[in-house]
Assembly symmetry: C3
Homo-oligomer: 304 residues x 3
């Protein structure tokens, strides 16, 4: 991860493996988003890949047994958990595993990353610099924006491997593209072009590979340059949480708490004063110590 | 408010202030939608602005302290509520205020208007005749349709003032435009053109300023000319309520109750007969006294 | 129903009545989708109409009393149910009818068909070969895809008959087309062209009448040719159920159960092996006996 001029860049960095997704990568991504949230110097995050690919999907170097082993492993015959390891990582650190019918289920790793992104305090821009397949594309669905290289290719290939959609894509994808398109991609598992992704609305903008990071940076600055960090963080949580809420009254409660809470902080006074004086605002409130809680009393986060 | 040929026109009427939103306007809008609902002569409602603007947002004539005062006020140190006044209006009349951590929170005024529009029995067309900024654009999101003058400009400017989205826009906006576009507008707070609003789907149609009201009227007539008022009112409630419902079974219950209830009323017999006789229907049922209740047994409205 | 090369074709077959919808058709459609689900030889389903129409809507041959009789009938004064008949079918077989205020309500027949389609294990493609009006268009909303003849016409005509939206269309339509378009169609009840339906996103592709069935078949094959039947069936349930779910955590639970369950089955091993060996996969698992239950512990299906 690099940080420059308020923008953190998180790079998937196994270019010789086309950045294939591993348990190590899963845990490092979660730690990276913990770090960008905690660091007031970071206003926005760009997620991209090293080399010619964005992410080729789950690492299949264990071969045909990749998911079979995974399941067997996670069923944990060894009650001491000695077998609950993969890539040298203790699987139980993935979070609380779910017991069902007396066996332990292992949590989907892509889903753990996506849920961490869902809660991010900073806007996230996925800069899809090349092929993004399987978890390589689904992990980007909790980014706020997807920019793509115009020669990138994508695929929700799970049904071609005998698997199922993951990384919360069964929830996220139909909120981003028309339902018929989402079902076509998921059922067929076919690879499609960045042009199709753009015309369906999955990708916000297409750029040449050489321009991609620069354009992602420009978008990041356009979101953060004139805005209060705490307001952006609250907005992010509000919009994402409201996607699944049953009635606008819930939004009204959360927003009312938000206006009252912000009204008691310094940013609003500065924001209005700067507007009336036709000057740039300098917002004093910081995410690290001035984030009001708008949700817990009305909309608790479901637990795993 | 004027009423002509079945169409009520509600006009934001502080043209010298670009129709900036006040507590008085908030209360008058709620009363206006109460009136259009109660009046069987009104089949549809157009909401527009006087002069060159639609609505420039919250009235900031109190200066940098606008929202700070608001919060202090609403925290109500005076238990008798003597301080709970603004623009001469008793804030407690805003509805039941929410106590939290032992203090009173003031409800978002734009949200109160939008929730009243959400429950409207008559279709609402926002005719956005000029700039619509802040609450000026968010108040239109609970309208069924937004038509705009082709030179109008819009902005969800809250994050530039240190505020947060309001008027239930955190819930409504992503239901109207693609999520990436909604997040761009909300995070950045930037002003955008009517052309961008149209291409994103926020605005249903663009017209010249001189044609705007005429086109809004024509759309209103197209919705109401051949349709039963009670059917339109029920349809309106059904579609808006179903936006946040977890399973189509809930719709099936509400719709089944609806068909049974309508089958016992006079409109259906007339509607089928007119269709079979190839003549215009004359529907006898009226919203004021013939609205069946399809919801309360299955889908109660959340309370503040 | 015919079955050829893995694709079942269900044909609405009352061409002299423009395939008007009856209680008999309702029950036969439900039985047909039961049959396609139970038959492992069926990978996808095409729903189309015989003759020049797709479906002209509810059969109105009972005249102006069609829905009035319906309601009176379903109120069932005869406790023995002798009067609960229509087209010779015992209405109580429609499922559990709902008692309300001491009277029986009859369930919406189109809604019963749509809810059965919602639960289908096989992808459904509606091939709309001609006019599709009322229940004729709403019954297609739970299909995964709508292909249409370029001269087809459609209409949500309920408000012109004094009725209300049915077949769960109040829930489904706004998930398929922009809200303003859905409200325009539902409020006005107007007839619109296939071109308008396509540009709004209601229809996935337009074809000439002569090409329509062939193109529907080609789409069906593209979804099923390279994919595991159980994976497609699970994907279908996951995406449709997640449309109304409040938080991605619910998807994460369902998906995690899914990956663990699939990992213990044979398909995944074959899918990964075939991919690594660059050959076509031959998936052994069948829907009839190898469908894992991903939902009942976390997301029970609402009952009528």
């Amino acid at each position: 991860m690099s940080i420059e001029d308020g923008i953190a860049v998180i790079t998937l960095d196994r270019p010789d493996k086309l950045n294939a997704f591993t348990t190590t990568m899963e845990n490092e991504l979660i730690e990276a988003f913990d770090a960008t949230d905690a660091n007031d110097a970071v206003r926005a995050v760009i997620l991209t890949g090293a080399g010619r690919a964005f992410c080729a999907g789950a690492d299949l170097s264990s071969g045909a047994e990749t998911f079979s082993e995974w399941s067997a492993e996670s069923n944990g015959n060894d009650a001491n958990g000695d077998d609950l390891r993969r890539d040298g990582v203790d699987l139980r650190r993935h979070g609380d595993d779910l017991r069902r019918d007396g066996v332990d289920l292992r949590r989907d790793g892509g889903g753990r990353v996506v849920l961490r992104m869902f809660d991010s305090l900073k806007p996230i821009i996925a800069a899809i610099n090349g092929p993004a397949v399987g978890v390589g594309i689904t992990m980007t669905l909790a980014a706020d924006f997807r920019l793509a290289a115009d020669d990138a290719r994508m695929g929700f290939v799970f049904n071609r491997r005998g698997l199922v959609p993951e990384s919360c894509s069964s929830w996220l994808l139909p909120k981003l593209v028309p339902l018929q398109r989402a079902l076509d991609w998921i059922y067929s598992g076919r690879i499609f072009t960045a042009a199709e992704a753009f015309s369906a609305g999955l990708v916000y903008r297409l750029h040449s590979r050489e321009d991609l990071l620069g354009e992602a940076t420009a978008l990041a600055h356009s979101l953060t340059r004139d805005t209060a960090p705490v307001s952006v963080a609250l907005s992010r949580q509000m919009v994402w949480r409201m996607l699944g809420v049953e009635h606008p009254m819930v939004a009204h409660r959360v927003e009312s708490i938000g206006i009252n809470a912000r009204g008691a902080q310094a940013d609003v006074r500065e924001g209005i004063a700067a507007f009336l004086e036709k000057r740039e605002a300098v917002f004093p409130d910081r995410c690290s110590d001035a984030m009001p809680d708008l949700f817990s009393s009305h909309l608790p986060r479901p637990r795993w």
